[in-house]
Symmetry: C2
Amino acid sequence: MSEVIEGRRARGGGAARRAERTAVSFETAKFITRNIPNFEVLNEEALQIIEYNAETVLEEIGVNFVENPAALDRWRAAGADVKGERVHIPRGLARKLCSTAPASFTQHARNPGRNVEIGGRNLVLAPVYGPPFVRDAEGGRRYATIEDFRNFVKLGYMSKWLHHSGGTVCEPTDVPVNKRHLDMLLAHMTLSDKPYMGSVTEPSRAADSVAMSKILFGDDFVDQNTVMTSLININSPLTFDGIMMGALEVYAAANQAAIISPFIVGGAMAPVTVAGTLTQVLAEVLAGVAYSQLVRAGAPVIAGAFVTSIDMNSGAPTFGTPEAAHITWGAGQLVRRLGLPYRSAGSFCGSKLPDAQAAYETANSLNMGLTAGVNFMLHACGWLEGGLVSSYEKFVMDADQLGTLHGLARGVAVDENAQAMDAIREVGPGGHYLGCAHTQANFKTAFWRTEVLDYKPFETWEEEGGRDTAQLASVRVKKMLADYVPPALDEAKREALDAFVAERKAEMPDAFI
Amino acid sequence: MSEVIEGRRARGGGAARRAERTAVSFETAKFITRNIPNFEVLNEEALQIIEYNAETVLEEIGVNFVENPAALDRWRAAGADVKGERVHIPRGLARKLCSTAPASFTQHARNPGRNVEIGGRNLVLAPVYGPPFVRDAEGGRRYATIEDFRNFVKLGYMSKWLHHSGGTVCEPTDVPVNKRHLDMLLAHMTLSDKPYMGSVTEPSRAADSVAMSKILFGDDFVDQNTVMTSLININSPLTFDGIMMGALEVYAAANQAAIISPFIVGGAMAPVTVAGTLTQVLAEVLAGVAYSQLVRAGAPVIAGAFVTSIDMNSGAPTFGTPEAAHITWGAGQLVRRLGLPYRSAGSFCGSKLPDAQAAYETANSLNMGLTAGVNFMLHACGWLEGGLVSSYEKFVMDADQLGTLHGLARGVAVDENAQAMDAIREVGPGGHYLGCAHTQANFKTAFWRTEVLDYKPFETWEEEGGRDTAQLASVRVKKMLADYVPPALDEAKREALDAFVAERKAEMPDAFI
């Protein structure tokens, strides 16, 4: 070993290299393009049964579009049988309507180098979404504030393996509920130059998201391009509420992308069996995506499946379980047969701390998401305690692990260099490869490298305090936030965004529920 | 939720159910039979290139059989070109010799209900092997003793998802090195009734292992059946040392099984590229398995691949990395094309503590092992710090996670019950599934259930001390060891085993190196 390290020292200059190694990187990896197969857990017969049953659900049982007369009119006009708020969709109609949605689309970032292509063999990674609490080593668990929100946007911006700035990285509970979306969007737009998500909690907030995006990108650009991907949850089972659909209508009409996604705790919002859950998921996705296309044919959408299992003793959702894996793999197959981009998986865990439980569960889910052919992974880092908490430490721990997904997706090269026959000849039986020419030529890119985990000798690790992963991550969080430098932004745009936010806030009284 | 819990309380009796939930289980799950596909990362062209190159390595470069004239004679007789200790194996010869090894075999346990079938679509899980240190919450990191060894055998016996008692679950460093194998075998034979591994550190110790097995099973039974699977490591690159081969010769001659396995840190003992490493792994496995068949055609063997990546800064091995996954998946494909059982993956991690790093790395490796089609997974639980440490807490944490592999392997049922159409009809849009008949009928078996991880409400968890996974595992370790009851064993056999151990120990002076 020592030859290699000393050889490099002699040539390089140790201090510079050590600085390089500890410097926080602002580099962002390109979104993942898979060069590995998808894992397929359902055979053709199973797929056909589930697809047939999903159509039966839509036709016979139907779905509810609640408090949304315009939606009922659209469905009626499309040929559905509408009774009250219940929409019965004839077999085949929803699938036919889905066919106008693009198989893949570009979401533009204000830094064009960070545009993402959503669909096909690509995987775009975005951070945790929605927690009302945050946790870190010093402050423990507490309600999230706009300061926390900004910190998570900064961490996301600086995370090499994260392609997307996300949306509600935590709920800024110190800002009135009717004004939060303005501060959140402003943070994504100014503190990061990665693509972001819009607000969905009211149609008017979706409209504000579009308006702010037009300031950032220009009116024409937003009319002609997708600059937001927003999260539209279905109220499982089989219910589409007026507020979420109202936001979807705003985005679809503006040609902005939406993830249309059931949010299911299996056994509570869907049957307790995998095949039953997949049936319901498919029915819901078909109805939701079809509806987006009724609003505007060709609007970009992502078919989602947020599905987890349940602890039947406590009723608590459970994560990283085999049943969740089966559903994520199976839903991927069903969505690919629909020809749509697919959203699922994430850094899911039930643990209260960024500990071993959190990591087992998260690793299970991340690996399953990659092999399931997910195209957009929301919650890819930072999720804790069943989604109640955004964890600072877990954010950087998970973000580091996302590097492994990039490595896995590369697949296996078999060109002449990769075959390494000359190296095997050079080293021969009983030799070692550390100093050989092939190793020297390839070692910098051969292996994924962590920026969080510890591989030091035991004695060194002990001398440095015997820190666990969360403690190492805590150091990295502080360093990243201290080193943060915002991306450049045109001053006039910045002022216009500030003015828009100030004006909209002045128009509304504060609301906290 | 409350209906279900109260309904069950009213019917069941809460105290009994709570007792059932906290009782330590002595049940052992049947070995896994996969009902899911294997993940294949290499295409046909890549497989053929690697197979061709491996034969080139064997023919042109050759392998060393060190300090083993009998082996050289066997190779010469088989048609190899032997120069000094270097054996050049003509293209195709090793593969042909491998064809007499069985694709699958039964390893018998003294409790026939715990026999395991190694090969085909099966996966047998065995605990950590080899660490000189142990770690637990109270005692920290320390040299392992025979007391620790016995404790790990007890924990393995009581772990539901572990099918195999393993071998050197830790090194009992307080017993002379030339006598350890006797105490270790005695522990496996008396404290557990699961299948076990034999000693490989000297041919005479392999012979002792066979002799003790004959006492336990009877002479005739051992002659006619496989009752041990032992670990024969290859000295990569391309070297087969006399001691390990001597042990292999003893086992093959006695029709006992051997795992023939390169032990490779990529970039050190093999090329830094995945395809190059796979080439060397295949060449080594071909030569080793072929040699076992030269000793006794038809002897049961498992083709192994212990391969991990390296941190090129420190030279430390790294675990749960993408490169290790590629190799594990690829080697699985190559071994299946040889028609042999496959050993790889495990609870690998570089972390010093049973923390998040340990769990990310372990989960990555376990999931990869399952999807790679591994048939025998050594180190499936308890491995810590790059294999230097057997961790009490991680043993039970990992053993719990092994339950997820069982769940994943089941695949997805699509029978009428699984389709759950009546449940979807019964609940309908906006309802919930917790109380419905289908949920009631299926919830007990629908979801994998942890015995370690925490899914309690935050407030309860906090009141109970806000414990992390390692602390919860520590409680479970103590409870398991306190609850341990040895399996019944015929008194005469027990006395004969004790007498054999005493006699062999008396014959030898103590040796500590």
